[in-house]
Structure formats: C-alpha cells, structure tokens
C-alpha cells in the first residue's frame, strides 16, 4: 500500500509530490515520483521515522538524508514497525488522560501532605547550626535599625523579662540554647518571633501589654516551641520545595510557570505555617499547665493583642494568614487538657 506525501532531496528544501512504498523484494523501501521514477531507495531497517505525536506529519528519513513527509500516520506505522507508537497510543486516549490526572492529583496530595513536611523536617535536622546562625544574622541585619529599634523599656522591666525568660527556658528543658532580644518595633506593634538559631525577639510593645507573668510566659513558651521544632528552617525549606517540584515535573521554569505557582505556593505556605502555630500553642499550653499556669492567660493575651492591632473586626481572613484566627487559637488554648 503506497503512502502519498512529499519528497525532499538530501539537504534541500525543494519538495515534490511522491509516494513511499515497499519495494518488490519487501526488504527495501523506495520513494517514487508521480511518473514512477525512483527518487530514493534503502533497506527497510536503515530507514527511520519520527515518532508519532498527535496528528503531526511524519518524517521518514533515508540514510542519505533524503526525506519523505506524509500525514498518513497509520501507513507509516504499518511500513516501519517499532518507531515509538506506544507513547502516541497512550497520549490519544481520554480515558488514560483522566487516569493520569487522578494519579497526578493523588501524588500531589501525598506530596503536599507528607512529602513536603517530612523532607523539610529532615533537611532542617541536617542543617548545620552555622547555617541557622547565618540565616538568623541576615534576618536580624535586614530588620535592625529599620523595623527593629533598641529597646526603650526601663532596665528594671528588662531584667524582669530576662528572669521570666530564664525560668521558662529552664521549664522547657529541651537542651536548646535560647537568647532573648528586646527591641522596640513601633511599625510592627506587639509581637514576638523566634529566629532559627534560638534567638527570640520580643517587642517593647508586647512587653507593655503583658499584664501578669503568665502572659509573658505563654508567649515565650510559644516561641521556644518554634525553635525546638525548627519551624523557622522548616518553613524556609517548605517554601522552596513546592515551586522546585513543580518546575522539575513540568520541566518548565519559565516566567509564566513561576507566576502561576506563586499564589498556590503562598496559600500552601500559610497552611503549613498555621500548623506550626498550632503546634507551638499546644506545646506552650502543656508547658504552662505543667508549671501551674493557666493557658487561658495566653488566650486572653492573644485576644487583647488582636484588638489592639486590628480593632474589633479582627485581622483578615484566617485562610490567608500565617496564623490561625485568634478566636480559634484562644478557644483551643482554653480547652488545653490538664496534665
């Protein structure tokens, strides 16, 4: 069964109508023009064809560089067996496409739920302390002098906070080294955060709002839990794992691909971060209970801070935020079981 198409001489763009057919002895393939004259001839096993892909025209290449081009995909497959038809068959079926989609969704879900958190945890464990120190230094350097100013608390109050810090660190007893940094942060407001190497920053604005010891203890225990679980490093790794995986799988690190993964990556990152906050709250509540303090103090303190920063309406939707909604956190803290 001859296939009709076009013939190109070796190295030339000149095309002429032609047919490709099996020669009389069946071991040779030949290209003939419309008059029947032979244009190219070669043993069948030395002739190659491009693999089938969609409805693309096939190029059948002869050893001397002559080319035969045809839209007759089935014909080429029949003439030249073993030229990558399997993949094209997979790519043609809607049923397989749907199956692939399901498999991809399943893999992505597993990856997001288990793969990313556990590989980030492993990486964080393997990170040398010098690297954590460097990250912490860089973070502080970026904020000091701009967002963070020297503390303006009276030295008696500073000493009081340092004492509480030492006590909570002893309670916590995980063997980590913690350091307290007091900073005035008029632009940030009442806040506290932990750096990966164990330094914990508490703002003057937070210290001024803390009423009893338990308020402060709760916050410090929460931040120490972040350090203890390496939450800082883990979120750094988690943030880079998702885009890296997408770029690796789709093989597309283009701007378009990056832009489309920004939003899902941010949402995912906030979801991971909310998990960390919950874990830190749970640890803090347990620690407080063990030492005769009521986690409700931390709950009330969180609510007062939110009221101060965002007013009565709260601080925006929780599914966007890095922290769970304050009301939910407070309720969970108040429910925290006694030891």
């Amino acid at each position: 069964m001859p296939l009709s198409g076009f013939y190109f001489p070796p190295g030339s763009a000149r095309q002429t109508e032609a047919v490709l057919r099996l020669a009389a002895d069946e071991d040779y393939l030949e290209i003939r023009d419309s008059g029947g004259a032979i244009l190219a001839r070669a043993p069948r096993r030395r002739v190659t064809a491009t693999s089938r892909l969609g409805a693309l025209r096939r190029k059948v290449e002869f050893p001397d560089g002559a080319l035969f081009e045809t839209a007759d995909n089935d014909g080429v497959d029949a003439l030249l067996k073993g030229h990558g038809g399997a993949l094209a068959r997979l790519e043609r079926s809607w049923r397989l496409a749907a199956l692939s989609l399901l498999a991809i969704i399943a893999c992505a879900t597993l990856f997001i739920l288990y793969g990313v958190p556990s590989s980030a945890e492993w990486l964080a464990r393997e990170t040398p302390p010098s690297a954590s120190r460097l990250i912490a230094d860089q973070t502080l350097k970026a904020m000091d002098g701009k967002l963070l100013l020297p503390t303006r608390l009276p030295s008696a109050r500073q000493q009081q906070i340092r004492d509480r810090f030492a006590i909570v660190a002893r309670w916590e007893g995980s063997g980590h080294r913690y350091d307290l940094l007091l900073r005035s942060a008029p632009h940030i407001g009442p806040n506290a955060f932990a750096l990966p190497d164990g330094r914990i920053v508490v703002t003057d604005q937070l210290a001024l709002m803390a009423e009893g010891n338990a308020d402060l203890d709760g916050v410090l225990a929460h931040e120490m839990a972040h350090v203890n679980h390496a939450h800082g490093l883990r979120s750094v790794y988690q943030a880079s794992l998702v885009p890296a995986a997408i770029a690796f799988i789709t093989g597309d690190a283009s701007q378009f691909a990056q832009m489309t993964v920004i939003l899902p990556a941010i949402l995912l990152q906030s979801a991971y971060s909310r998990k960390f906050e919950q874990q830190a709250d749970d640890d803090a509540a347990a620690l407080m209970r063990r030492h005769g303090e009521d986690p409700a103090a931390l709950a009330g303190f969180l609510e007062r801070m939110e009221l101060k920063t965002c007013g009565k309406t709260g601080c925006g939707p929780s599914w966007l935020g890095s922290h769970p909604a304050t009301s939910a956190r407070a309720a969970r803290l108040r429910r925290a079981p006694a030891q």
Partner: protein
C-alpha cells in the same frame, strides 16, 4: 503562519507525559519536553509545511543533571562556607555568555523547516557584549540606554542566525525602541497612579474596612497584577513586531508581524489567571491559544517556492548549555 494544534489533543499529551514523569521520578521529563516542543513546532505552518524539532532527550537529561549538580554544589557552599558564595557568582557571570551562546545554538540547530536546519554562530564575546556589557552600560546610565541594550540582544540573536546557507539580517531603528519603552513606562506609571488613587496610598490592603473601600482595593490589586504581568507582554509584543518587521532572510525573504500589544497583554494576563483558577488544568489550552494568536499575526513574504534553500553540513549542537540556562531560567527575549 498558522498554528494547527488543538488544546484537547495537547492536553492529553501533556497530562500523560506529566504522569510518566512522576512515575519515573523526573527522568522522563526530558522526553516530555521534547514531545511538547515537537508538538508546537510541528503544528506551526508556513504555507504547506511545518517546523520540526529534533533535540535528543538524552542530551537534555544530561544537561539537566549537570545543572542540578551545580545547584547542589552552590547550596552546599552556601551552607558550609558562605564567604565563598561570591566565587560562584563570578563563575556564573563568566559562564553566562557561554550558556546563552550554546543554548541559542542548540535551539537553532535542532529546528528545521522543509528538511533544512537552522543554525546559530554567535560567539562568546558577542554574547558577553550583548548580554552583560550593554546591560551594565544601561544600568550606569540610569536605564536611559536600555533600548540600545535591547537592540544589541536582538542583533546578537538574529544576525548570527542562519537558515541553511541563508543568513538572517536585522536592522532595527533604535528611535522606535525608545518610543516603545517610553509607552510602556507611561502605562506602568498610569497603573501605579490608579493603584495609589484606589487605595489612598495605604499598604496594608488586608486591614478591615467598608465595602466600597474593599472594592477599590480589589480593583487596585487587579490593576497591579495587570501592570506586573502585562507590562512585559505589552513591551514584548511591540519589540517583537519591530524586530521581525526589520529582519530579512537572504536576499528576498522578509517577515511581517502585527501582534497587537493590548491583545497580547490580555492573552498573557487571562492565561495566567485562568491557569491559576483551573489549578493548572487550562495550561495546555493557554499555551495553544497563545501560539495560535502569535502564528496568526506573522507572515513570511518571500519567493513563491522555498525550494531554493539548501542546508549546510553541520554537527548537532550541545544541550548542556541550553539546559543549564533554562534550569536557571535565563530568558533570551525575542
């Protein structure tokens, strides 16, 4: 030119290839990339014939492995002795022209039309001038020379390209480039002014407020997104037209491109939004849509028969440079 691929057909190819990539832990991605490229090249027609892409997946895989190795070495350096990071940047800067040169050559040599391959013979020094020195000069002059730097990049790309034995030649009026950069700058400033007007200059858009203020903020975010994603597409369409309209191939082939910058901005912006909303499922449709529009807007004006083109004997290009470059997301424009 016209694009004859269909979104449905490409969707099946794309999704099956992604599944295979996952199953093979990423190894198949090189084959997937080649199939995807072949699909787009093979469906882009000039007259009766389409382009073809010939890259060998194994070479791409090797290039990726090398790029990945470099990234690993870089990360290790960052973790162990951060002071040596500067050395990596120097090395990268020194390698950049080579990466650009070899990736353009790889792309050209693996592209053919009607049995004749393209070729690229730009030099290391040429890439160094076009992509580093001109950019530095543009930065020193507070970006007032940016259009010249743009032209240098286009010249390096186009004037070093060949189709068979015929050479491409571009002669781009820099005044037009100044006009286009100016227009884009105005569009960005306009969008910024609109954002400031809508938000009243406040930075915290999540701060609670009344409904009208919320709507104004949503509008501001949309404006910002259009400006951020759209500006490169807007400028890209204008400069692409300019470059192509001033390019000749050999003695008597010319090109015409009339991409509408507004339409191109719309396509890029809505493609991104729809891809995000559909969780990536509309990505194949978005790519096909863009390819179709771009092909529709381009015309080749030349001899009735392209049969006079003859190829030159040449070895295949080197995939390592291309893959290292695309791994680090270096974009060459045009």
């Amino acid at each position: 030119m016209r694009f004859e691929g269909s979104a449905g057909e490409y969707f099946k190819i794309w999704i099956v290839n992604i599944a295979l990539t996952i199953v093979t832990l990423g190894i198949f991605s090189a084959w997937a990339k080649v199939r995807s490229k072949r699909y787009f090249y093979g469906n882009t027609y000039i007259g009766t014939n389409a382009f073809d892409y010939h890259a060998a997946p194994l070479r791409i895989l090797l290039g990726r492995a090398i790029a990945f190795g470099f990234l690993l070495a870089y990360s290790l350096t960052a973790a162990i002795s951060p002071k040596l990071i500067g050395l990596w940047y120097l090395l990268f800067l020194a390698a950049l022209p080579w990466l650009i040169k070899s990736s353009l050559r790889f792309a050209a040599r693996n592209t053919s039309y009607r049995n004749v391959r393209f070729d690229f013979h730009g030099s290391y020094w040429g890439a160094c001038k076009a992509f580093i020195l001109w950019q530095m000069l543009a930065a020193i002059t507070l970006f007032s020379m940016l259009p010249f730097a743009h032209r240098a990049r286009d010249y390096y790309h186009i004037n070093n390209s060949r189709y068979g034995q015929a050479a491409f030649e571009a002669e781009i009026p820099v005044g037009k480039l100044y006009k286009y950069y100016g227009l884009t700058l105005l569009a960005i400033l306009g969008a910024l002014a609109a954002i400031v007007a809508l938000t009243g200059g406040t930075m915290n858009i999540f701060k609670p407020a009344d409904a009208p203020v919320i709507f104004a903020r949503i509008a501001a975010v949309i404006f910002g997104a259009v400006a951020f994603w759209g500006a490169p597409a807007y400028l890209g369409a204008l400069t692409f037209n300019l470059a192509l309209n001033n390019t000749r191939l050999g003695e008597n082939v010319r090109f015409e491109s009339h991409l509408s910058p507004v339409r191109m901005t719309w396509i890029v912006f809505s493609n991104i939004v729809l891809t995000i909303i559909s969780l990536g499922l509309l990505y194949p449709w978005a790519r096909v849509r863009r390819a179709r529009y771009m092909a529709e807007c381009m015309t080749v004006i030349g001899p009735a028969d392209a049969g006079d083109f003859q190829s030159m004997p040449m070895p295949a290009g080197n995939a390592i440079g291309e893959e290292v470059a695309s791994f680090f997301d270096i974009d060459f424009g045009l």
